[in-house]
């Protein structure tokens, strides 16, 4: 597994397009959080990281599928996956390696955001006037959200040989899971009866709960279940190549 991890991370940082995507992410986040007035942390009346944790999922919804576009799709297209299947490694190990490389890459992408936390911490009056419980909960939520988006991207990448189709399907699935269920819950047929439970099934609901600092077991189990479902789907897609 480490062999694929090292190769994928090497390939990622050796690819100008991938590294550029990260740079665009950093610039975009910097502009939204520090320059544009609507979400600017500096224009807020409270020392809070809320604007970061509100904007981040919207950008990650596009960024993660783009970063993982070639995770399996390119290997399918070029035939290197066929060769990998003749090596002493199982399909499950291939999927887990791809998932872990995706997680490592997005963690590297999010790591500099710690600077935002430190900035708000030091800018607060008095210094340190920041709800650290909420920040830690939100980071846990963001990490779990990234795990789901990565597993969805790996799944699409294992389903389609074409990178662009893979990115589009990933974005659609991530959108449906994040906001789609919330939007569906407002349908008249569900409103007042099932709307709470339909919202409960969406990522947005659990992400918001974690953001309040409520790290509930049910939310953790929920995120892990979705990751497992999509990784299992990816595993089945690879196993199908042997048939």
């Amino acid at each position: 597994m480490t062999a694929i991890l090292i190769k994928d991370i090497n390939q990622f940082f050796g690819n100008l397009v991938s590294v550029s995507s990260l740079l665009v992410f950093y610039v975009l986040m910097g502009l939204i959080l520090w320059v544009f007035p609507d979400y600017s942390i500096l224009d807020g009346y409270y020392s809070s990281m809320n604007s970061f944790f509100t904007v981040a999922p919207m950008i990650l919804l596009f960024l993660i599928p783009a970063l993982n576009r070639d995770a399996i799709a390119e290997e399918l297209d070029t035939g290197t996956l066929d060769l990998l299947l003749t090596r002493p490694i199982t399909s499950l190990q291939i999927v887990l390696s791809k998932f872990l490389s995706g997680i490592i890459i997005i963690s590297i992408a999010l790591f500099p955001s710690i600077m935002y936390v430190l900035s708000v911490y030091w800018l607060g009056n008095p210094v340190g006037n920041l709800d650290m419980g909420g920040v830690i909960g939100s980071y846990i939520g963001l990490f779990l959200l990234c795990s789901v988006f990565t597993s969805v991207s790996i799944f699409s990448s294992s389903l389609l040989k074409n990178s662009i189709s893979s990115v589009l399907v990933s974005i659609l699935l991530c959108f449906l899971l994040y906001w789609g269920l919330y939007l569906i819950s407002s349908l008249p047929v569900l409103y007042g009866k099932w709307d709470y439970w339909v919202q409960w099934m969406g990522l947005d609901f659990h992400y918001a709960e974690l953001g309040k600092g409520l790290v509930g077991l049910h939310s953790i189990v929920y995120f892990f279940s979705i990751v497992t479902v999509f990784l299992f789907g990816s595993f089945l897609n690879i196993e199908r190549l042997k048939r």
Binding site: A3, I4, G14, T78, T80, D82, L85, P88, I89, T90
Partner: protein
Amino acid sequence: MGIQVQNISKSFGTQTAVQNLTFSAINGEILGFLGPNGAGKTTSLRMIAGHLIPDSGNILYDGIDIWQNPVEAKQMIGYLPESNPLYYDLYVKEILGFYARLHHIPNSKNRIEDVIEMVGLNKEQKKKVGNLSKGYKQRVGVAVAILHDPEILLLDEPVSGLDPNQLADISELIRNLAKTKTVIYSSHILSEVEKTCDKVLIISDGELKVIDRLDVLKAKSVNSQIIWATFDVKIDGKLLRRIEGIKNATCIAGNTWKIEAVPNVDIRRNLYDWTVVNNAPLLESKVEESTMASVFKELTKE
């Protein structure tokens, strides 16, 4: 020691790609895997390499079933697919390093250096794989296949796209490797198969047609004797065709004739007697040997 393929079959939908294929190959042997396009060669090799699961049958490497102990069995094989898939954005050493880690090769640096030397990649080792010529990419493919020193090598068209010098080098390398390994070698270049392989397997329409030693196979081939003869004088074709046992005689150029005998008849003595009686001295004569191409054609014709 070696590989045993027992009754493997594979269908894709309603189309049968391989049917009840059974053969074995032992250590130190190069088995040529031949067949026309669409005969099921690549599907068979994919099953043997552990990429495709057969619908039925077993594949054993030194007695280890590939589908019961896949990880252990796959350590024993080196596979070079026909399309030679490689990571074009990696450097030669990076790609070899990746496969070395995948196979947990101890002292991988030394092994990578040795393999680079063996396949003749020294000059190109600092380039990205995507920037190499086709011949050198093929060498990288061979390097990837032999890196973990497998006991069984499956080479699907290993010399396609190589120039004559590269072809000679890679063939030599395969012959050297085969001294201690079992090699299954699929190729469309029959002359190369004749030079390289000890044994030949021919499949057609997914079925095994024959498997035998190359010399035995050639000897078994029922072919008409063909003699290429150049006479010192002009010859009347009608007279030549009257020789007993001759089926046909065609003038190729000047006084050179292609003389074909009826099946299973040796016409050399009759031809010699005829030249003496007709005062037609022979300057040159050559009996055409049964080639792999004629054996192949005979066994795979519709």
